[in-house]
């Protein structure tokens, strides 16, 4: 349904900036694309250690709602993982730029989702509706 193949393919190519902060860990940590990173649970190529060489599980959304929600999860995950990296590498300008690119993507896709399927947070514009939309299920633990 979505083409993930080319997004951010080039984000680590030449010129990846080395972090000059005081930490001693100078292991290379290059980013993979957000879909692959999400299904792995790890955005960093050199840090990925699968168990028993298992391949990550591809997502197989059954509905448009689920497919859109998975893209929200994908960009949210990229932000979570980049944020933890930036906490210990706050001077990596290239990764800060990528963080903000994902943040923009997340905002757009979240607006699309919430307009169609209701609010994900109590800051959503989709709450300007009647009756109170927040209580509509299913809740996250109930599956899709």
């Amino acid at each position: 349904m979505y083409d993930y193949s080319n997004r951010y393919d080039n984000i680590n190519s030449p010129g990846e900036r080395k972090d000059n902060s005081a930490n001693m860990n100078d292991q290379k940590q290059s980013l993979i694309n957000s879909y692959e990173g999400f299904i792995r649970g790890n955005m960093f190529e050199e840090l990925y250690k699968p168990y028993l060489q298992a391949e990550p599980f591809n997502l197989r959304p059954q509905t448009e709602k689920e497919a859109l929600l998975n893209r929200i999860r994908e960009y949210s995950f990229a932000l979570v993982d980049l944020n933890l990296y930036l906490d210990t590498h706050p001077n990596d300008a290239e990764k800060i730029k990528i963080y903000n690119q994902y943040l923009n993507e997340l905002k757009q896709i979240t607006n699309n989702y919430e307009a169609m399927f209701g609010p994900l947070t109590l800051s959503s514009e989709a709450l300007n509706s009647y009756p109170w939309a927040w209580i509509s299920g299913p809740w996250p633990w109930e599956g899709v």
């Binding site: 005081a22 860990n25 999400f38 599980f57 929200i72 995950f77 990296y85 109590l122 996250p140």
Partner: protein, 185 residues
């Protein structure tokens, strides 16, 4: 403060009831190496981290652990959904039903209730971060044990995701730890 987002960090859609797996898996909710202990460990230790990096990292990993508590809880809920007292009794969960009905409750795989004795705060950033690194490795090992206890891809997929998060968290704690060591903290 914290804000709720009405979604799981990673999707959980378990189609087949498996009470035995629910009983084992609950340890990553309320066991000594589980996600609840992790969240409380980091969110308590953050106050005495010596610099901005440390305060940020402990806050952010502690926050992510709360979303992992929710993933494990959703898995246990779905694995146990609509279980009858007879079915629970058959897998030695009659005790759980007697105390809690079909509700969730944080215990380890042997039914021992959660306790804050599972984590420490010392006020010493090196000691705390070494505990955190060990905790991430222990949680990774438990995820591998759990993966070996099931064949259900609906269960293995989120467990693999969560296992990988332990590897990343270990890496970030180690980066902070090594920097503090180098600075003589």
């Amino acid at each position: 403060m914290w804000k709720y987002e009405k979604k799981l960090q990673y999707p959980v859609n378990i189609k087949n009831k498996d009470l035995k797996m629910a009983k084992y898996l609950v340890t990553q909710y309320g066991g000594s190496n589980g996600e609840l202990a992790a969240a409380l460990r980091y969110l308590n230790q953050r106050y005495t981290m010596p610099d901005e990096k440390g305060k940020a990292l402990l806050t952010d990993i502690g926050t992510e652990e709360l979303s992992h508590v929710e993933i494990i809880s959703a898995m246990v809920y779905q694995l146990m959904k609509d279980a009858t007292p007879e079915e629970l009794r058959a897998v030695d969960m009659g005790g759980h039903f007697a105390e809690h009905g079909n509700a969730l409750y944080p215990t380890d795989a042997n039914g021992v209730p959660f306790t804050v004795k599972y984590f420490a705060t010392t006020g010493d950033p090196i000691a705390d971060l070494q505990e955190d690194m060990a905790a991430e490795e222990k949680a990774r090992a438990v995820y591998e044990n759990l993966i070996n206890l099931t064949n259900d891809p609906d269960v293995i997929a989120p467990l693999s995701f969560l296992r990988q998060r332990e590897i990343i968290h270990f890496q970030r704690f180690k980066e902070l730890h090594d920097e503090y060591k180098a600075r003589g903290l």
